[in-house]
């Protein structure tokens, strides 16, 4: 019998981190304000009290320092899990992530693994000030040597954080912060999917909606509205952004012939663009319409009062669905 518990993603991540800390003494959590405070989003709440200040470390306020020292710790056999406080604060660590962390295994000819996880609360919908609502995942998906994932549900968050920590490769773990608090079912007994598998979140036959992170709930909402209008939409949750598990995407595209890819991130050179190009290459003869993208705009993430216009919502997705069906 599986043990099923209803909890928000924030608690599921906390439980997943606790399980990882308990399972392997080489697992360390490092980040700004993650100790007594439990992180600004309280994801690590109670963990320092339980595992001590060495296993759950409040670091100096220096993102490059966090990732750079995590690399040294990984060389020593540790499995550091770094928390970057907000999406827009990851850039000071960019060199250490893309030039150092991502390349160590390759430069060492495979004799050294880099089991480092970098947790990044990301995305909008929280009405915050600048640098606090961004979606920078494409930068990292573009870099060889990194794995990039993003859960959309509490269940995935619980299992994927543990699987990311078990991975011997560096994993950028993007947490959709707007989804931290809605509750969902978590199967504490077994994981149904691997870290890099995509998932059909809702079956349908007329159009395929693809997204990751917080966008999955928007797509499900759009699919529900579409159903009321007699349109059967299939929703595919990417879960993994690098590598992308194209099997379920291609199966769905070949079945429906119409695809909309949605993302909070700006459109130019984005993950959605990559998916659109790949589906066009590999499912060309099955497509009835071009793959359409629904994205944030190619502007800075706007002032919070305008974020509702910037972020794709169900209406923007449905507008794209209408256009796809009109071909």
């Amino acid at each position: 019998m599986s043990e099923i518990v209803n909890m928000p993603m924030a608690k599921a991540l906390n439980a997943g981190l606790r399980a990882a800390l308990a399972a392997d003494e080489k697992v360390l959590l490092m980040g700004e304000d993650i100790g007594p405070l439990g992180g600004v989003f309280r994801i690590t709440e109670g963990l320092q009290a339980e595992f001590g200040p060495r296993r759950v470390q409040d670091t100096p306020l220096a993102e490059s320092g966090i990732v750079g020292t995590a690399i040294g710790l990984a060389m020593r056999g540790y499995r550091p899990v770094c928390e970057i406080q907000f999406d827009g604060f990851i850039y000071p660590a960019f060199d250490q992530i893309v030039s150092q962390l991502a390349k160590q295994t390759n430069r060492h000819g495979g004799t050294l693994s880099m089991p480092v996880v970098i947790r990044v609360p990301y995305g909008g919908h929280i009405g915050a000030v600048e640098h606090h609502q961004e979606s920078p995942e494409a930068y990292f998906a573009h870099t060889a040597g990194l794995r990039v994932v993003s859960p959309s549900t509490p269940n995935d968050a619980y299992w994927m954080i543990q699987e990311a920590i078990q991975s011997n490769d560096p994993v950028l773990f993007f947490e959709p912060k707007s989804r931290y608090w809605p509750k969902g079912e978590v199967n504490l007994t077994e994981s149904q999917l691997g870290l890099h598998q995509s998932r059909v979140a809702r079956e349908g036959t007329d159009v395929t909606l693809i997204g990751h992170g917080a966008m999955v709930s928007t797509l499900l909402q759009a699919a529900e509205v579409a159903a009321g209008e007699g349109i059967s939409a299939e929703v595919v949750d990417l879960r993994s952004i690098s590598p992308i598990d194209y099997g379920p995407l291609l199966d769905s595209a070949r079945k429906t012939g119409r695809v909309v890819v949605a993302q909070e991130a700006p459109e130019n050179a984005s993950v959605g663009s990559e998916i659109a190009a790949t589906l066009a290459e590999k499912a060309f003869y099955s497509l009835e319409a071009p793959v359409l993208r629904v994205s944030g705009f190619d502007t800075p993430f706007p002032a919070a009062k305008l974020e509702g216009l910037y972020l794709p919502d169900a209406d923007r997705v449905l507008d794209a669905v209408d256009r796809a069906l009109a071909y």
């Binding site: 320092g65 750079g68 710790l73 060389m75 060889a144 794995r147």
Partner: protein, 378 residues
């Protein structure tokens, strides 16, 4: 406006430029470290400095002959590097920048492996996880990045309980090399912050060779750089980097203090890059002959040779050191020329530790594509 550089007191120095043993006041606290050095140690220091100078010139020639993409020579910095390398104990870990060829050689790295990186046949060159390479980590070409890796590694030594027991024979420490230009990189400051915060068993070894390619150290800092370390709360000293004994004594004492739990330390070794930054550089565009000649008067090898001769070393040491260096160069040349380009599928190997679909797909594709280009398939 002029740049003001606060003068440091006399650095730690045992050997004057002419080779006479004349410790400066700053050297007194480190004097006892020389007691354990035997004639055999002195000979080894000398041979290593002579070897790497010859290696340096051979490698530069190989680059000039089109056999390597690039080479960063270390001529002039042999004293700082040989002394500090011999100060490290076998259990210590060493994070170089990219000019510490002799440090690698002393730790057991085959010099041809260093040149394999410069020849463009690998992105690494040697396996730091193999004990035969003496815990000498890979070169890091982005300036200063390695200081954070070293600090993280030293944090691991600390967390493991591998340092701080008080036993200098077994407690571990880490030493990281970087240069005057790197001190302006944010990562170096962050490494000092983390090291001070955790009190890591670690020595920061700064070789101040006066020039960051074409920019003099006065543009990087208005204060002597050893004060940077002090500003982060690390015991910090400036040494004459062209005195191999000063480099040995201070590094040895600082590493032992760090390993037994007294926290990180900082050394600024004053030295001079006699050659170009790399073979792509032209120092005649930014330095004067006078300056170079002045530093030539303080050469680490000439100085140490005068000291050894005054101590009565036999002539055979000097002739055999020169012969051995020549043999090393011949061997390095022959084996470097034999380094072939790796097979192309290796490009896709070890990008990840675990299976990755894109690596497999792209490797397969390139294999088919290359096969389609062969004579039979045209």
């Amino acid at each position: 406006m002029t740049l003001h550089t606060e003068q440091a007191p006399e650095p730690v120095r045992f050997l004057s430029a002419d080779g006479t043993f004349a410790p400066t006041p700053a050297a007194e606290p480190f004097l006892a470290r020389l007691d354990s050095l035997t004639d055999a140690h002195h000979e080894r220091f000398y041979r290593d400095m002579v070897s790497v100078r010859a290696f340096d010139r051979e490698a530069t020639n190989l680059q000039r002959q089109g056999e390597m993409a690039l080479f960063p020579p270390s001529e002039g910095q042999e004293g700082a590097q040989v002394g500090s390398a011999h100060a490290a104990r076998p259990q210590d870990h060493i994070f170089p920048s990219y000019r510490e060829h002799v440090v690698g050689m002393i730790r057991g790295v085959d010099p041809v492996n260093i040149l394999s990186l410069m020849r463009g046949v690998t992105l690494g060159g040697w396996d730091p996880t193999d004990p035969k390479n003496g815990n000498f980590h890979l070169y890091t070409l982005v300036l200063g990045s390695q200081t954070l890796h070293a600090t993280g590694y030293a944090m691991g030594q600390l967390f493991d309980g591998a340092s701080g027991t008080g036993n200098v024979e077994t407690d571990e420490a880490t030493i990281v090399y970087f240069g005057d230009g790197s001190t302006s990189e944010g990562d170096v400051s962050e490494a000092l912050v983390f090291a001070a915060s955790h009190q890591t068993p670690q020595v920061f070894f700064l070789q101040n060779n006066q020039w960051a390619i074409s920019v003099p150290v006065s543009v990087q800092s208005r204060t002597p750089l050893y004060l940077r370390g002090a500003g982060f709360g690390l015991p910090s000293v400036q040494i004459d980097g062209n005195d191999v004994l000063a480099s040995y004594a201070v590094t040895s004492q600082f590493l032992d203090e760090a390993r037994v739990g007294q926290g990180p330390r900082f050394i600024e070794a004053m030295t001079y890059r006699m050659g170009a930054h790399t073979t792509s550089d032209d120092p005649t565009k930014y330095r004067t002959n006078e300056e170079r000649a002045e530093w030539g008067q303080r050469d680490p090898i000439v100085r140490f040779e005068a000291y050894l001769r005054a101590r009565g070393a036999s002539e055979s040491l000097f002739t055999s050191a020169a012969e051995d260096a020549k043999d090393l160069c011949a061997d390095v040349r022959a084996r470097t020329l034999a380094l072939e380009a790796p097979d192309f599928p290796t490009m896709f190997e070890h990008v990840y530790s675990e299976e990755h679909p894109r690596m497999r797909e792209q490797s397969d594709w390139l294999t088919r594509y290359e096969a389609s280009m062969t004579e039979d398939n045209r």
